[in-house]
Amino acid sequence: MKKLRIEDKLYLVGYNVDHEYSHLGISDSEACKTCEKKQCTYVCPASVYSWDEKEQKININYDACLECGTCRFACDYITWKYPRGGFGVAYKFG
């Protein structure tokens, strides 16, 4: 079976994107620079986090977030709130 990338799969997910407010953040971006594993970049099932080598920071693509909360258990510097009411992921099947 053809392997599907996360990007391919996220097209299938219904979202109501909040263009004004990101529910995800990093409390101390300095910590990312010395973080060896940068686990947020690979444990997230929606690839929300990516390391920007040039800017030396983590980019957060919050509108892809599936709201599982894995990142907040995986890293203490990630600040995680629910998206505002009605925004975010909306599953059709569940």
């Binding site: 109501n16 444990v43 258990f73 629910y82 505002r84 009411g85 909306a90 099947f93």
Partner: protein, 433 residues
């Protein structure tokens, strides 16, 4: 007496919150359910099977009208390595007649239906609203703050059924910090197939009947986890849940894991040609009994995933959620008679749960999460031994059977040592006492 908008505020319209609201509304209590999603179920992911009993006690014969996919007549358990699986299971006609044992459901649809029943019973449901914090006065929870303008709501009692993240229980200090070794990430796909394909591939005669497969073993490369396949009407739910700490330590991307599962030679023929319809992720509380928090405070109770009520051994969760929601509601109804919603009165809720299978089951396995964390090899090496032994026994190659059995015995000794084996058996026996 402070302000009061409702008798009870239920936070979260999942199975726990809605079971609580249903009981309360039926008893004439003025109850509001606050849900952050567009509709109940829109944020929810089914990582298991929906067991009938607790729901049937609440809404008799609910399965005749609820959007269920199939009733489960066969449950298979696979121990799998990269090229083989050793299969056990039970298929019984005892589960093929009403009232049935359990069902595959799709939560976005099922929870939406459940919420209609709750509203019909008389509860008020507000969607698209996030509860941001509890309102505490004089050490007592008197309401909740929401993200709506003038969004403070007051009540005698708040039931937090706000899911595994449970910001409410945490902000009240009821719950310890959840560490990544006590939670699993589950990722799942819904793969569309025709009804006939599902029936043929899973050996099902009638489209109402369903099959489940749970899979663990060395294919997980030493990570603690479980994969699953559940037959829906015209799709298959396939997913895998792994302890987050293990994903981190193995540098593992959950989607890569799911993709390799889908392409495993034992799995692929069951889903091949199907089209992925949805991709989902959710966290599962796996800490067991020892991670269950104090479930009450003055004017406050916690139910469902928010109280870490998941039995990962038997993949039970939504049934425990329904049961806990019901008992929280019943505790409120008792407290209402005396008008006393203090911590002491509401502590009856946790006592009640201790008396039911919910906490008795979790208590039985209370040492298991630590045992498996200490001895991850139990999930890898013993299943691998079984797979190899079965392969040896079923391979006819001219080697006399006594020699085969000697070889298997030799493998057992060389892989574990008789002392190691005895130790492991003793540890498991002791931990499960």
């Amino acid at each position: 007496m402070s302000k009061k908008d409702f008798d009870v505020i239920v936070v979260g319209a999942g199975p726990a919150g809605m079971a609580a609201a249903y009981v309360l509304a039926k008893a004439g209590v003025d109850v509001i359910v606050i849900e952050r999603g567009k509709f109940p179920g829109s944020k929810n992911v089914m990582g298991g099977i929906f067991y009938r009993k607790p729901m049937d006690d609440l809404i008799p014969e609910f399965y005749k009208e609820a959007p269920i996919e199939r009733h489960i007549v066969e449950q298979r358990m696979w121990l799998m390595d990269d090229v083989s699986h050793f299969s056990m299971g039970i298929k019984t006609q005892k589960h093929n007649s009403e009232p049935y044992n359990c069902f595959s459901v799709l939560r976005a649809q099922f929870d939406k239906w459940f919420s209609k029943k709750v509203v019909e019973a008389g509860a008020l449901l507000i969607n698209e609203t996030v509860v941001t914090e509890p309102i505490v006065e004089n050490g007592k929870v008197v309401g909740v703050r929401t993200d709506r303008p003038q969004g403070d709501l007051y009540a005698d009692c708040v039931i937090a059924a706000d899911g595994v993240q449970s910001f409410l229980a945490k902000s009240l200090g009821l719950r310890k910090k959840i560490t990544p070794n006590k939670v699993a990430l589950g990722v799942k796909e819904i793969i569309g197939l025709s009804e006939e394909q599902v029936n043929d591939r899973f050996g099902i005669k009638d489209s109402k009947e369903g099959v489940t497969i749970e899979i663990t073993g060395p294919f997980l490369k030493g990570m603690e986890g479980m994969a699953w396949m559940y037959t829906n009407k015209n799709s298959v739910s396939i997913g895998i849940g792994v302890i987050i700490d293990d994903l981190i330590n193995h540098n593992m991307n959950p989607n890569d894991l799911l993709e390799s599962l889908k392409n495993h030679p034992s799995v692929l023929p069951l889903i091949e040609g199907g089209e992925t319809r949805e991709y989902l992720a959710h966290v599962i509380p796996e800490g067991g009994y020892k991670s269950v928090p104090r479930m009450y405070a003055d004017g406050f109770m916690v139910a469902g995933d928010a109280a870490m009520l998941v039995d990962s051994v038997h993949r039970e969760g939504s049934n425990l959620a329904v049961e806990s929601g019901k008992l929280a509601a019943k505790t409120y109804l008792e407290a209402r008679e005396s008008g006393d919603f203090s911590e002491k009165t509401l502590s009856r809720y946790q006592e009640k749960l201790e008396e039911t299978y919910v906490l008795q089951d979790l208590r039985y396995y209370k040492n298991l999460p630590e045992l498996l964390e200490e001895k991850r090899y139990l999930l890898t090496e013993y299943p691998q031994f079984l797979i190899d032994a079965m392969t040896e026994i079923y391979t006819v190659d001219g080697v006399p059977k006594p020699e085969k059995f000697r070889k298997i015995k030799g493998e057992l000794k060389s892989r574990f040592g008789y002392i190691g084996l005895a130790k492991d058996l003793y540890t498991i026996w002791r931990k499960l006492r």
